[in-house]
Amino acid sequence: MTVRSAILEKFQDVAARLDKRLAPLTDETVLLDSGLDSLSFAIIVATLEDDLGVDPFTTAEDVYFPVTFGDFVAFYDNALKADVAA
């Protein structure tokens, strides 16, 4: 499973769990317009940490929050590459 598909599945899973209507996700989808709230993102980040072993929000040196779904996937992709390199 690619990182992208794992994240996509997590978005759908959490949306279903919290009864949120999830917008169709493309790389350009702005996260704030995805239909998810901050609690949803909190759960997504926590459970992705369980599944993938990284939390790029905590490890990142800058205060950064991805704007689009594509940014979000890239954020995890880069963190995982850094994790493997380390």
Binding site: L18, S38, L39, F41, A42, V45, A46, D50, D55, F57
Partner: protein, 460 residues
């Protein structure tokens, strides 16, 4: 210095009409109360301890019980060390409490006190003719079960400690008490006093005695009245040895007794009365609930009598004649507000005509500014029939500061399948707001407990 306001423990025992068939059972020793009432384990030093402030440092709680019986009314003050008080805490505790004598079993405590009398306790008991005159309303100094820093010490007197104890009904079979609590803590001390003043016997847990061994011993001694925290009981019911006991009365205190644990006990001990009591080291025994339901009737708030209660800012406040007199030492601050009420820090919520405990004020998990009491989430999880116990805590989160996560112990291990997890999560989603619902839930073989028998809660 206060004169005695009631007969000393030794005098009470000596006046007992049926002392001959009463016992204190330790892990290694069975001692007849008749022998204890008329004997001493202080190696001839009891007289010298009169009027002193005595630090009681014991490895085996049985010795603590013996020393309390001997010193009540004789010592000016007894500082009762709980088992988890570290050697490093001893000097400050001794200094704060003005200790000028140390009574101990086993090895000499790691404490240097000039001019203090050190007395080692030894068995067998030696006969004691006339004990020293009980000239004091001895101050009983207990340690609060603080989770961080040096525990605070509070002063009780026997009259307050025993205020909730009703006289034994004559004609009843003498009760055999047992407690999962350590008797050097408030909850356990209550049971020691109940046994001593209520014409009973007591089975005392040994130091670090495994719960299964203790259950076997309780069964062997014919325990009739058994008490512990909800966590103690959840642990006990996991053990096959729980079948060894057939108590006539079961009591819970020290943590929130949720409906699930009350129902499990009811099922395990059919027809046995099950009560849950509210008490704290500071406020003393508040009240008992005996209708088998969690929480307490709202009507309790209006009651007048020894114990008055009210709810302010969501927390339970108690004013009681049994409230500890004060903290020991000046730095600790006042124990009681101007109006005599103690803020217990226990948060309650009115649902219908009953108040329910929702958790400790300082245990709150903050999820993006919304407050979650771990205990209210645990209560929902614990309702699932496959669940024995659970621990809910906050986990750091970059988005909301914290999120709720849960660890769950099942009755039967190996049942950790997805169905149970799905069912528990469905129950949480049904009964809790989304921010209170655990973001992750995992099954664990066991949960850590504190020395006081409560679930160990780590503040995130």
């Amino acid at each position: 210095m206060s004169p005695p306001d009631r007969p000393s423990l030794r005098a009470t025992l000596r006046a007992s009409p049926r002392l001959s068939d009463r016992w204190l059972w330790g892990r290694d020793e069975a001692l007849a109360l008749a022998e204890i009432a008329h004997g001493s384990c202080l190696g001839g030093h009891l007289e010298q301890l009169a009027g002193r402030s005595v630090l009681l440092r014991t490895g085996d709680p049985l010795f603590a019980a013996l020393a309390l019986i001997e010193l009540d009314g004789v010592a000016r003050r007894i500082v009762l060390c709980p088992p988890d008080l570290t050697d490093a805490d001893l000097p400050l505790a001794a200094e704060t409490a003005g200790v000028d004598a140390v009574v101990f079993d086993g090895a000499l405590p790691a404490l240097r006190l000039t001019d203090a009398l050190f007395v080692a306790m030894r068995l067998p008991l030696t006969p004691l003719g006339n004990p020293p005159v009980a000239a004091f309303a001895t101050e009983w100094v207990m340690f609060t079960s603080g989770t961080s820093g040096v525990p605070k010490m509070v002063i009780h007197r026997l009259a307050g400690l025993t205020g909730a104890i009703k006289p034994a009904a004559t004609g009843d079979a003498p009760p055999v008490w047992g407690t999962f609590y350590d008797i050097r803590r408030y909850g356990g001390l209550q049971i020691l006093l109940r046994a001593l003043l209520g014409e009973g016997s007591l089975v005392i847990a040994g130091p670090r005695e495994p719960i299964a061994d203790f259950l076997q011993r309780l069964g062997h001694c014919g325990v009739t009245h058994l008490t512990g925290t909800p966590s103690h009981w959840r642990q006990a019911l996991l053990r096959p040895a729980a079948r060894a006991i057939a108590p006539a009365y079961v009591r819970l205190s020290g943590e929130i007794a949720d409906q699930a644990v009350l129902d499990s006990l009811k099922e395990f001990f059919p027809g046995v009365p099950i009560g849950h009591a509210y008490a704290s080291t500071e406020a003393g025994v508040g009240f008992e609930v005996n209708d088998g339901l969690e929480g307490f009737p709202a009507a309790f708030l209006g009651r007048v009598g020894d114990v008055e209660m009210r709810v302010e800012d969501g927390s339970l406040r108690v004013r009681s004649a049994r409230t500890a007199g004060a903290y020991v030492g000046d730095a600790a601050g006042p124990l009681v507000g101007d109006d005599g009420f103690v803020d217990t820090g226990d948060m309650v919520e009115l649902r219908g005509d009953r108040y329910h405990f929702v958790g400790r004020r300082n245990g709150v998990i903050n999820v993006g500014g919304l407050k979650v009491h771990p205990e209210e989430v645990e209560a929902v999880i614990n309702r699932h029939p496959a669940v024995r116990m659970s621990l809910v805590r906050g986990r750091r989160n970059p988005i909301t500061g914290a999120i709720v996560v849960a660890e769950v112990v099942l009755h039967a291990t190996g049942e950790t399948n997805g169905t149970i997890k799905d069912e528990i999560m469905a129950a949480c989603r049904r009964d809790l707001s989304p921010f209170k619902t655990p973001a992750s839930l995992r099954f664990v073989p066991a949960l850590a407990m504190t020395a006081g028998g409560k679930l160990e809660r780590v503040v995130a």
